[in-house]
Symmetry: none
Subunit: 226 residues, 2 copies
């Protein structure tokens, strides 16, 4: 679950922001005090910070500075009532990544936050995962087995990624339906079996004797990288 830290003391704005971002699937942590906010940031490591300038107590710019010092990779977006150019520059000097003036449109705010998150993610190194004779690059959606390119569908990649992110753990069909398929379309557990079959056919040396995608009778499946 991706966290978003909201630092804001107006309870109405709080509610609005919580609704907005929880509706998009983020977990929202709200802090109204500057010092707590810095601690909370260290605790939950959010993907983005929304910071209202008009805080009581610790000045907003100080909060921004401290968060950026401790976590330069987390994007900080400033919320402010006034759109004064000089303020903007000062704040951005402190390391803030973007600036949104109140009143803001929810959609624009959302777009800016997501753009900032994407930028920060893009700077991360893309890596390939390896298991057995398989090597997979999720950013490129390319997979090689024993040096040969193997093509997977989008769903197959998603399923494979979930297994790779949860190695060794037994995963039930229902969990896979929830986390890989999502709640919008909820097919039967038979569908899961079929996708497992596809993965085995494409990635196992002997699909009849699966070494990586093991079935755990009565429980689900388990991914073994080795």
């Amino acid at each position: 679950m991706q966290n978003i830290l909201v630092i804001e003391d107006d309870s109405r704005v709080q509610k609005t922001l919580v609704r907005l971002f929880e509706g998009e699937g983020y977990a929202v942590r709200v802090e109204s005090d500057g010092l707590n906010a810095v601690a909370a940031c260290r605790a939950i490591l959010p993907v983005a910070v929304l910071l209202d300038l008009m805080l009581p107590g610790v000045p907003g710019r100080e909060v921004c500075k401290r968060i950026k010092e401790a976590h330069p990779e987390i994007p900080v977006l400033i919320l402010s009532a006034v759109s004064h150019v000089a303020d903007k520059v000062l704040l951005l000097e402190l390391g803030a990544d973007d600036y949104v003036t109140k009143p803001f449109s929810p959609r624009e705010l959302l777009a800016r936050v997501q753009a900032a998150v994407r930028r920060s993610h893009k700077t991360k190194r893309e890596k390939t995962f390896n298991f057995g004779d398989v090597s997979v690059d999720f950013a490129r959606m390319e997979l090689q087995r024993a040096g040969e390119a193997v093509s997977l569908t989008a769903h197959e990649f998603k399923l494979l990624r979930y297994f790779i992110e949860n190695p060794g753990r037994v995963i039930s069909r229902v969990e896979l339906l929830n986390d890989v398929w999502g709640y919008e379309n909820y097919p039967t557990t038979r569908t899961v079996d079929n996708q497992i079959l596809k993965l085995r056919q494409k990635l196992e040396i002997d699909p009849a004797q699966p070494k990586h995608f093991r079935t755990v009778h009565g429980a689900g499946y388990k991914f073994s990288p080795a």
Copy 2:
């Protein structure tokens, strides 16, 4: 000592920029008037020009044009207000090398300026990007295919540039809408398909069998330079 010419009339922004770039070892010359700026540019031959659009007197785009006419090799970066994003493409057409929307993060601005300077240094030898039988020059907005000039629209250039900057990575339609179109105007994903179609018709050897602009079913598109 490398000079940077800042054309900006807001004294606070001036100060910010001077501090930022002097801290990085550049010599900064500030002009607040458009005509003086053109003269100053001839005098100090800066490695980059930062141009604020909101100038009194001579319109910013005229300044940009004149500087580019006299010194096509000097990179010009536009500082534009958020509300005038629609002008971006137009400005690039005037010869500007990059644009930064206010508010900007100092880090980002610095990075962009340095990137532009680096590019301009490379320019004297090779500033074109090549793939397949295509050769493209973004500064001039010119493109050749098998020696023949091919004309692209501003949007097509922007889209192509995004692909070239993200080679190999699978890029979703939504990401393209966010980063190429921007969140101000947000058409449907169908529009993306159409622009891809245009690029394929103009740049692929066989548009029905795209080699460069691959579609990844259920995920988006992927650019393959090779």
